[in-house]
Each structure stands twice: as structure tokens, then as C-alpha cells.
Subunit: 237 residues, 2 copies
């Protein structure tokens, strides 16, 4: 199978050629020269689950793993406002009014770039700015979908929607009709903080889905879904 050929293929930095995130990430919007410059300034890290990713002066491609974004109320109540699944792009252009914390849910591999370089390149490469805008609008769409879920869905619809979302992101390339099995990268507490529920309610809804035959709970974290269709009926949309 001939891979998508790039006229400048030969000039692409070696490390980028095998990059899992390459075409989907912001790197896909760069030409070979820019990619080379960015690669030179980039650094790869692996951070263990539970690490808070500092909201510092870097952008990163998420090569593998899952990251949660949280907003906290001052009394400690917590809401997860989004996730990043590999391959995705992390990092917020400009300053945010509101503090949002990012934390690795699993072990995570990152390819990070100094903010200054990317910001300069957005001036030179309009395609890059376009891509950042598209990315932000995607996140906005997702946030609004979850607003509808948080405001208007029942607990069991929320849990079904959540499982569908995770299934779609954990292995996006899978065949839509095939059975699905994955390790949940979240604790029940995280799921509760995302869905605006308590851990007890989440647990009860898992049990209910299991006894109804919609899911199979192998080992607390490992879930298999009989079929996406069965969950789609229960997710409220």
C-alpha cells in the first residue's frame, strides 16, 4: 500500500517520520523546513499516571495515553471539562481567564515544543493558525455536547454516553461493528466528576448496564461492549 507521498518526504526529520501524531497534530500543517526547525526544538518526555501537566510555556503532541482537564470550585467540588486521547494536541494559545488543570490519567508520552516557536510559526504559516482554530472549535463542540448531557440527560444516559465516547477514542480505527474491549483509563471517581454524579451512582449504573447485558465488566477497569448500537440506544441521542 503506497503511503501518502510527500514531495518533501526526504527532508522530514527522522523522529517525525515515525510519529504517531504526525498528520493529525499541528505538525501536519507545517512544511519540511518548519518541521525540521520545530523538531530541533522539540523534546519527548514520558510522565507517569497522576502527574499534573504544568500549564507552562509549551505545546505538546500527546503521543500516547489519556489526559483529563479539570475545573474546581473553591470548596473542592470538581468537574472534569474534557479529555485528550492520543493522538491529540495539548496546549492553549493566549492566556486563559480561568485556571484549568491538566493531569495524566495514564502514563503519557509527549512531544513538546516551546510556545514561542509555535506562536511565531502561526504568523508565517496561515495553515497552522487555521488548524489551531479548527482544533479549538472541535473542543468547543465537544464541550457543548457535554453541556447538553450534564444538563439534560439521566444518570444512565450519561454513563452510556461516556462509555461510547471512551470507546470511540481509545481505538478510533476499529471497525464500527466489531465488539469492543478496553481498559478504562479513569477511576469511578473521575467518571463521576466528569458526569456530574457521585461514584455510587456511577457504580450502580455500571452494574445495571452489566445485568442488562449491554456491557461486560471483566475486571473493574476492563470493560467490553457487546456492540456500540446497544449503547447508542441508551445514550439519549
Amino acid at each position: 500500500m503506497a503511503a501518502r507521498q510527500d514531495a518533501q518526504q526526504a527532508d522530514v526529520p527522522a523522529i517525525c517520520k515515525s510519529c504517531e501524531a504526525r498528520q493529525d497534530s499541528l505538525c501536519g500543517a507545517l512544511n519540511a523546513r518548519q518541521l525540521a526547525e520545530l523538531a530541533k526544538a522539540s523534546s519527548r518526555h514520558e510522565v507517569p499516571a497522576g502527574t499534573e501537566l504544568p500549564d507552562d510555556a509549551t505545546y505538546s503532541n500527546l503521543l500516547s495515553g489519556v489526559v483529563k482537564l479539570t475545573r474546581n470550585l473553591p470548596d473542592g467540588r470538581q468537574q472534569i471539562v474534557g479529555f485528550h486521547f492520543a493522538p491529540d494536541f495539548l496546549g492553549r494559545p493566549f492566556d486563559a481567564k480561568r485556571q484549568i488543570r491538566a493531569e495524566a490519567l495514564t502514563n503519557v508520552r509527549l512531544c513538546s515544543f516551546p510556545r514561542a516557536i509555535v506562536d511565531r510559526m502561526t504568523g508565517e504559516a496561515p495553515e497552522l493558525g487555521r488548524l489551531l482554530l479548527k482544533h479549538a472549535l472541535n473542543e468547543l463542540d465537544e464541550a457543548r455536547d457535554w453541556m447538553a448531557a450534564l444538563g439534560r440527560k439521566t444518570a444512565s444516559e450519561k454513563v452510556a454516553s461516556f462509555l461510547l465516547m471512551v470507546a470511540r477514542n481509545m481505538d478510533p480505527a476499529r471497525h464500527p461493528a466489531s465488539p469492543i474491549s478496553f481498559d478504562l483509563p479513569l477511576t469511578r471517581a473521575d467518571i463521576a466528576d466528569f458526569l456530574g454524579l457521585t461514584i455510587e451512582t456511577v457504580s450502580r449504573e455500571f452494574s445495571r448496564l452489566r445485568s442488562d447485558g449491554a456491557i461486560h465488566i471483566v475486571n473493574k477497569r476492563q470493560i467490553s461492549l457487546a456492540s456500540l448500537a446497544q449503547l447508542e440506544e441508551r445514550c439519549g441521542d
Copy 2:
């Protein structure tokens, strides 16, 4: 008081000079030539409250009035996912995965531009792309704030937060300490659809805020707030 001087002031189209949205909207990122071109292609409309704004091939500055954005579940449940208060910018670059409807809550005046022209200008004026990105990120921050409210706040915190948000947007220029009075541009049903509550609960929380002296309900829609500080204590953050 000397207004902010623009080197090209003399070339700015007459209609734009007096525009309420000018500096805050996307027009603030254009030079005089671009502004002139855009002004030539622009058209002003006034639409009455209740009109659905078609998600068509236009961008618009919202010169006056308030617009709601809604997401619907297939069984009719509705969630309001955002508002636009004048002066704000309406219109979504690229295609959205999800259908979101926009509807005028009050009479609304718009200055609309053909999508094609703006899209072309983003290629020519990096500042414009930057501004669109900033705008999208602002909306994302707001959506995430409301995710936290929907998921983790009590009914009375939600209503207090909502009143604060409206107060801050209806007359952003007001002195922060002064008493505030405004006409709510929403029905109780709209408020409920925004906060993930029922109209009865919204009504009860209004009554409670009134009997606690936090607000004064002049005429169902017309609300006056004793002080922002008093509501801020009740809003949960």
C-alpha cells in the same frame, strides 16, 4: 477625551465609524482597505425576537440584542449552550459536526458579511485569524465554566451565577459597585433550559433570592440586584 486615534481614521467607512461593535469585533483586526471592502459587502438587518438565525453562509456582528444557542436531544429535551450579547461576533468558521441552533431572544440588529470574504481575509490578515481563535477560546472557556456549574452546582448557585453572568453582559461598562437593574432577555423556560433545571425550580429560586433580599423582582422580567457582591457569595465560586 481623545478617542483612540487610528492612522487610517479618515479612510474608515462612514458606517463603521459609528459601529457599536467595531473594536471588539473582527473588524478591529482589519486595516482600512480591508474594512472598506468588507463594509461594501456587508448588510445590516434587524430581526424580531424569536427569529431563528439561519446557520448559513454568513458571519455577523451583533450590534444590539441577545442571541441564544441551543442543542436539542432527539426527544425534545433542550439545552442552551451559550449566549451572545452585543457587541459580539456570530458565526462559525468551518463546518460543525453538531447542529446548534441560534435564535434571537430580543430584537436584534446584525451586520452580516458573506462567509467567503471573511475566509479569504483570514488568509491575508493573520491578525484576523488570531482574533477568531481568541474568540473561539473564549467561548470554550465559558462553555467549560458552565459545564462545572451544570455538573456541580446546586440550583440556587446556578441561578445566582446566571444572574451575575447576565448582569455582567447586559452593561459591561457599568461601575462594578453600583446597583444594577436590567430586563432579563429570557423567559423562565429559557433560564431552565440553560441551567439544566425546570421552570418551577427556577421560579422558586428567584422567589427565594427575593425574600432573602439579594434581588428585587420589579416586573417578572425586570430584575434589580442589590449588589454584585451579595450574589457572588451565593454563586459557588
